[in-house]
Symmetry: C2
Subunit: 381 residues, 2 copies
C-alpha cells in the first residue's frame, strides 16, 4: 500500500507530529525523574494508548484519566494503575466495579463524607474495595477541600475505617496556575500546592492515618516545581501536545505544539481582506484561552501556519468561527496568492485538550508529508 500523504487527507482532520510529541514526552519525563517523583500523565488530553505508550517510556506504567470510559479503554490496553481524577459518586460505582474485579488498580477521589457514605454502601453491596484519595483545593476553587479544613481528618478516618473503602492518600491540582504568567508567579503557585499537600499529609499521618500517595500537578506547576520532598507523584497532560495557551504561560514554545487541524481554503474574500477555511467551531472548538490576558497574542480560534507547519505569515489566525467555517485574517494585506483556494493550512489550538476532543483519530506525521500512523482516540463518556 502506498503511504497516504497529508495532501490526500479529507479535511478537516487532526494531525499529530510524532517527533514533537516524543520530544515533549522525553523532556517532561526526564524533568520529573530528576525531581525524584513518579510521573502519572493525565491522559484526558491525548485519550490514546499510542500516545500513552510514548508518554510512559522510561516511567512507571501509571496514568490519570478524566472519565470512566478512558479508564475502561486504557485498562483494556493493559494499563492497570489509574487514578480517575474527578469526584466519584455512588451512581458510578456499578460501572467501575468490573474494572476493580478484573484487578485494575483504579483509584478515585472525593472531598466529602456524604458521598463517601453513599459510595461505601454501594461498594459493600457489590463486595468491592475502593481506594480513595482525598481531593484538596490548593487555590483552584474547583473541587476539593481546603488543607486546613476540619473535615479532612474526619474524612480520612472514615475512608480508613469503613468497609468497602480504603484511604489512598491525597490529590490536588493547581489549576489556578493558568491565571499567572511569570516564572516567579508559577513557582509561587507550585510552592503553595506543595505546602498544602505536605500540611495535609502531615495532619493525616499525625493522626495515625496512612497516606501512601501524595499526588500533585498541572503542566505549569510540574514545569516550575522546585524540590518535592514528601510528594510521591505529579500529574500533567497537556505538556505532551503543547498549545498556544501553554506557550502564552511559558509551559512550552510555539515550536513545541504537536497537534493541529489540517484545513482547506474554501473561499477568498478579497473585499474583506480574509479567506475562509473548512474548519470552524466544531473542527477547532470554541476555546479562546489566549484571549484571556490581553497582554500576549490572542490567536483567535487558532494560530494558522502553512500546510507543512513550517512558517506563519504575519500573525495569521482564525479570527471568527462558525459551525463549519473559519475566517482567517492576518496583520496587514492578506497574501491571497500564497493561499489559493484548495490549498491547505494547519491550525494550532488555543487548548489542545478541547480541540482534539472533536476528532476520533490522529493522523500521525513525523515532520514531513507522510502519514506514518492513524491512532484512535477514546472520546465521550
Amino acid at each position: 500500500m502506498i503511504p497516504m500523504k497529508l495532501s490526500q487527507l479529507d479535511t478537516p482532520c487532526l494531525v499529530l507530529d510524532h517527533g514533537i510529541l516524543s520530544r515533549n514526552a522525553q523532556i517532561m519525563g526526564r524533568h520529573i525523574r530528576s525531581l525524584g517523583v513518579t510521573l502519572r500523565p493525565h491522559m484526558k488530553t491525548a485519550k490514546s494508548i499510542d500516545v500513552a505508550n510514548i508518554a510512559l517510556q522510561g516511567n512507571p506504567r501509571c496514568i490519570t484519566v478524566s472519565t470512566l470510559k478512558e479508564a475502561e479503554y486504557f485498562a483494556s490496553h493493559g494499563i492497570t494503575d489509574i487514578i480517575y481524577a474527578v469526584s466519584m459518586v455512588a451512581s458510578k460505582v456499578d460501572r467501575a466495579a468490573p474494572l476493580l474485579r478484573d484487578g485494575v488498580d483504579l483509584k478515585f477521589i472525593l472531598n466529602n463524607i456524604d458521598s463517601a457514605q453513599d459510595i461505601a454502601k454501594r461498594a459493600s453491596e457489590l463486595k468491592i474495595e475502593m481506594t480513595i484519595l482525598i481531593e484538596l483545593d490548593v487555590g483552584d476553587c474547583r473541587g476539593g477541600m481546603m488543607a486546613d479544613s476540619a473535615e479532612l481528618l474526619k474524612l480520612g478516618r472514615f475512608l480508613s475505617e469503613t468497609p468497602g473503602l480504603k484511604l489512598g492518600g491525597l490529590l490536588c491540582h493547581a489549576g489556578n496556575s493558568y491565571h499567572y504568567r511569570t516564572t516567579q508567579e508559577m513557582q509561587k503557585v507550585a510552592a503553595v500546592e506543595h505546602d498544602a499537600a505536605l500540611f495535609a499529609t502531615q495532619k493525616l499521618r499525625t493522626a495515625g492515618l496512612d497516606c501512601p500517595i501524595v499526588s500533585i500537578g498541572s503542566t505549569p506547576t510540574a514545569k516550575h516545581a522546585g524540590t518535592l520532598t514528601g510528594i510521591t507523584e505529579i500529574r500533567c497532560g497537556v505538556y505532551m501536545f503543547g498549545d498556544a495557551f501553554q506557550a502564552q504561560i511559558h509551559s512550552c514554545t510555539l515550536r513545541d505544539m504537536a497537534v493541529s487541524v489540517l484545513a482547506t481554503v474554501i473561499c477568498h474574500r478579497r473585499d474583506l481582506n480574509c479567506m475562509l477555511i473548512d474548519a470552524g467551531s466544531l473542527a477547532l472548538s470554541q476555546d479562546r484561552s489566549t484571549a484571556a490576558d490581553g497582554l500576549s497574542e490572542d490567536v483567535g480560534f487558532g494560530l494558522v501556519m502553512d500546510e507543512q507547519a513550517q512558517s506563519r505569515y504575519n500573525g495569521m489566525r482564525v479570527a471568527r468561527a462558525y459551525q463549519e467555517h473559519g475566517i482567517v485574517t492576518c496583520d496587514g494585506d492578506f497574501p491571497f496568492d500564497e493561499y489559493p483556494i484548495g490549498s491547505r493550512v494547519r491550525v494550532f489550538p488555543n487548548h489542545a485538550c478541547i480541540m482534539t476532543a472533536q476528532y476520533d483519530d490522529y493522523q500521525v506525521v513525523d515532520g514531513g508529508d507522510e502519514i506514518i500512523h492513524t491512532w484512535h482516540r477514546v472520546n465521550g463518556w
Copy 2:
C-alpha cells in the same frame, strides 16, 4: 425489556424531548408553508435521520447539510434532494461523485470562478455533472459574493456554459440576523436578505440564465419573514431544538428548548456557594452566545434546571467550565439541600448546534422520565 429511565442513564448524556421537538417542527413547517415556499431544513443541528423525519413531516423531502459526511448519511437513509451549504472545492469532488452517480440530487454552492474552473475540470474527468448555486453575501460577511458584484453574471455564465457544471440558482444566509434583538430589526435583516436575493435573481434571468432555486434562510429570518415573492425555499435548522441564545433573540422561548445535557451533582462547595456537576467544557461545549449582548441574561455555559426540566431555581447556571467539571451557581444562597450529591440536573445550551455535536446519541424522552428511543447522530467529517 423494561424501558430505561432518565435516572438510570450514565452521565453526562444528551436528552431530547420528543414533544417539544415535534411542536417546534410543526410550527415552523406550518409557517413556511403559509409563506408559499419550500422548507429545506438544515440538518447541521440535529444530524439525525430520526429528527429529519419529524422535520420533514408535511414538507417535501429536501434538506440542507454542512458536511459531506452528513450528505452521505442522509442519502443512505433515502433523502436524495440535498444542498451542501459550504463552499465546494475541487479536492472534495471525488468524495461527492459516488453520491451523484447513485442518483442523489446533491447540490453545491460557490462564489468564485477560480474554484468553479477547478471543480469543472475534476467533474469532467469523473464524468459527472454538478449543480451549483451561487452563494450571495447578504450582510453576514462570511462566504458569498455581493448581489451587485460584477462577478455574479460572469460566474452565472460560466456555470451555465461549462461541461460538468450546471447553474442551480442562488443561495444566501442572513447569519447577521444573530446580531439583532428586536422584531423590527429582524424584519429589516429578513427584508435585506429577500431584496438581495431578488436583485441577483433578476440580474441572472435578465441575462438569459436559468435560476430555478432561490434559497434563503436562517432561523430568525425564517421566523420574521414577510411576503416571499420570488423565493423558492427557506433553510433553517436550530428552530427544531431551540436554545438559550435563540430565546435571547426571540426565535423561541425557553420552554421551546428540546435538547439538554443530563448531568450528576458530584461535589458541594458550601464555602464557595456553588456545586460541581460532571458536565464541563466537553459535555456542554464552550459556546457563550448568551454573553454577547450584555442586555439579556447570560446563562454562562448553560442554563440549569431540575432533573425533570420542570423548574429552574433563581438563575441557576454553569458559571465556569473545566474539561469535565461544571461549576453551578445561582443568584443568592445556593439550595444545596435540594440538589444533594448524586442528584441530577438538566443543562440547556447556549447554542444547540455546538453542544449536541459532543454526543453520538440522543436519549429521547417525551416529557417524562422514560427513554422512548435512542437516536444516532452523524458527527465528524
